[in-house]
Assembly symmetry: C2
Homo-oligomer: 104 residues x 2
């Protein structure tokens, strides 16, 4: 057993991605952001679908089609494969903890 | 976008299971318990693996091999397929909200 709020990375210079589950058709990641936006240039253009939820902090997702979605604690969203998006903003004053479930 | 803490079921007589994502190889469920234990008799004996996390409240998982795991806010656990288990107890005084990711 682990706790999603525990063992937060000490180095907050970079966004940190950790695998929690790695299966044949699914990958569950914890992502911890500290005011980061990502990717630095361009968009995420993923071959897998991603279900994402924010557990603490907040983050703003921007989509290539112009949509913007602010996710706060407990907010979750399904991002279909190839829906180009980026993390435009995350809370600067606290860690933003995300769970991402990537699936085909 | 939805919030995992919103739209809690009004009827708390039964444990409530809702699909959030239903893919070919993955299913994400929200489960809301109010002092329930389940299944009523016997064990869950699942053909899929399940990654489970408690988001509020608390729940005690019992395994056929004698292991007991108390999950509180943020605690998460991977349950391999066919690891027989049951929910032996959940908090009686508040909703216990679980996320279950079932995957093959």
């Amino acid at each position: 057993m682990n706790n999603i709020f525990s063992w937060l990375p000490e180095n907050t210079d970079e966004e940190v991605f950790e695998d929690i589950v790695k299966g044949k058709h699914v990958r569950i990641e914890r992502i911890v952001s500290h005011g980061h936006s990502s990717p630095r240039t361009g968009w995420y253009d993923q071959t897998e679908n991603e279900w994402v939820m924010v557990l603490s902090g907040s983050g703003l997702l921007s989509f290539e089609n112009g949509d913007e979605v602010l996710l706060e604690k407990g907010d979750h969203l399904n991002i279909p494969a190839h829906a180009k998006h980026r993390v435009a903003w995350t809370a600067p004053d606290e860690p933003t903890i995300w769970i991402g479930v990537f699936y085909s």
